[in-house]
């Protein structure tokens, strides 16, 4: 009987999808529908109002605080101006330099020569890398012909600690017998909330 009822209800439910009115056979006791198990105390409406007001204020304050912080972005030092120096900025301008055509030519020649030297350097670098690759390939091929086992050992990746950091060369050699003065490490990195 329940089966047929469920079947008929499913058919009827096509029009009203959320309807539960057909599930009459399920009964609950009035006890389960009871909201308060204990008798509620009556609160003074004035007190309740005050409480509500306080709650609302607290939330509003929090929202205001959050908005304040979200608007503030991390300052970009490069894009801000030094206020003290900016006060007399007109005093700080140098007189414009006037160059003769010879001076301009000289500068152009220097720049051209430098560019040319960098290009040569690049070509030399390229040649060096190609040679290194060629020589190593050649060496590995020869080794392969001689002994396959040794070749297989040679092409295994080596245990290199990566990233590899190489210091130097410096402008002056390390000073001999130099006693570095004692000091404390103070981290001056700025932080933002």
């Amino acid at each position: 009987m329940l089966c047929s009822l469920a079947a008929s209800s499913s058919r009827l439910c096509v029009n009203s999808l959320v309807s539960t009115s057909f599930l009459r056979p399920f009964h609950t006791t009035p006890l389960a529908q009871g909201v308060f198990m204990k008798k509620q105390k009556k609160i003074d409406p004035e007190v309740a109002k005050a409480r509500e007001h306080r709650k609302r204020k607290k939330l509003e304050r929090e929202i205001r605080e959050m908005l304040k912080h979200s608007k503030k972005s991390k300052p970009i030092d490069e894009m801000t101006i030094d206020v003290i120096s900016a006060k007399n900025i007109n005093e700080r301008r140098r007189p414009p330099t006037v160059l003769t055509s010879e001076q301009l030519d000289e500068r152009a020649v220097i720049f051209k020569n430098y560019t040319r030297s960098r290009a040569h350097l690049m070509i030399a670098d390229d040649e060096w890398i190609r040679t290194a690759f060629y020589q190593q390939k050649n060496a590995l091929n020869e080794l392969k012909k001689l002994d396959l086992k040794l070749y297989e050992e040679a092409v295994k990746p080596s245990r290199v600690q990566l990233p590899l950091v190489i210091h130097g060369p410096t402008l002056t050699p390390p000073a001999e017998n130099y006693d570095a003065p004692d000091g404390e490490y103070i981290d001056t990195t700025r932080t933002w909330v």
């Binding site: 020589q135 080794l143 060369p169 001999e176």
Partner: protein, 275 residues
């Protein structure tokens, strides 16, 4: 297929190896190129020098004066005013509190301090740290140096020409191990040397001529020398094993060209000297 396999199994028991294609037997050697990288940067070439000066000048022209320069200008004016007042025989009270420590005094102090420090630690003359000795690690500080040796190869009467240190392969698991052994053989004490990679960087084929062939005792027709690179740790002390190494030098690329006779041998490792 079976033939090459046979050759390989035979070759594994000997130190001299045979290649199937050429039908020649080869001794395998491993050579280590021990490098001391440049300690200081080389001086700028003329083109670089000129460009650096020009770029600095242009940057200066486009810049604003800084506070120190402004103060210098103000000091100059004040000094001029003082001189004028002194000439007129007036009192200097109007300048009170204005002329403190002038920038000229500060600059003098700084220059003096810098000069003192430079003299003390020889900053002004890096060449003062250099040694003339070809065996010294502190020679030619701005160049890459490579170790050249005259080796005995276990024969007390023998002395090789100037070569990169080398050692015959002796059934080690890999050529890198032979290279490590080679470093151990030519040095004495604790020398910090780091080998680079498992693969050789170059190979040189050397054919034995005349009586040497019978002298080696392996019946090989020549030697294949596989090169590995290694670099000396910073501040490492270097001492050689005197039983094995007759003489040694730390050479630059030009010196290498002059000291090593075999042109083919030189060409195989020339690129290592690139700076």
């Amino acid at each position: 297929m079976r033939l090459t396999g046979l050759i390989r199994s035979v070759a594994a028991t000997e130190t001299a190896k045979k290649t199937a294609q050429e039908g020649l037997k080869w001794d395998i050697f491993t050579s280590v190129i021990v490098m001391r990288p440049a300690v200081i940067a080389p001086p700028m070439i003329e083109v670089e020098q000129k460009y650096a000066e020009s770029a600095l000048q242009q940057e200066f022209e486009g810049s604003l004066t800084n506070s120190f320069e402004l103060k210098t200008k103000k000091d100059e004016e004040l000094l001029k005013r003082r001189d004028e007042l002194e000439r007129q025989g007036k009192e200097l009270s109007e300048l009170d509190g204005q002329l403190g420590i002038t920038n000229f005094m500060k600059l003098d102090d700084w220059v003096k301090n810098a000069d003192e420090l430079a003299k003390k630690f020889k900053f002004d003359n890096p060449k003062a740290f250099e040694a003339d000795d070809v065996r010294s690690l502190s020679r030619a500080l701005d160049r890459k140096l490579v170790l050249l040796v005259k080796q005995r190869f276990g024969d007390k009467k023998y002395e090789s020409p100037w070569i990169l240190p080398q050692l015959k392969y002796n059934n080690e698991a890999s050529l890198r191990e032979t290279a490590e052994r080679c470093i151990g053989e030519i040095t004495s004490g604790n020398v910090e040397v780091a080998l680079h990679g498992n693969a050789p960087v170059a190979v040189h084929t050397h054919k034995y001529q005349g009586p040497i062939k019978s002298k080696t005792g392996t019946g090989a027709d020549g030697a294949k020398i596989f090169f590995y690179t290694a670099s000396l740790a910073k501040k490492a002390k270097f001492t050689t094993n005197q039983d094995e190494v007759v003489d040694f030098q730390w050479v630059t690329s030009e010196e290498f060209e002059n000291l090593v006779i075999n042109r083919k041998y030189r060409n195989r490792v020339k690129h290592i000297f690139y700076e």
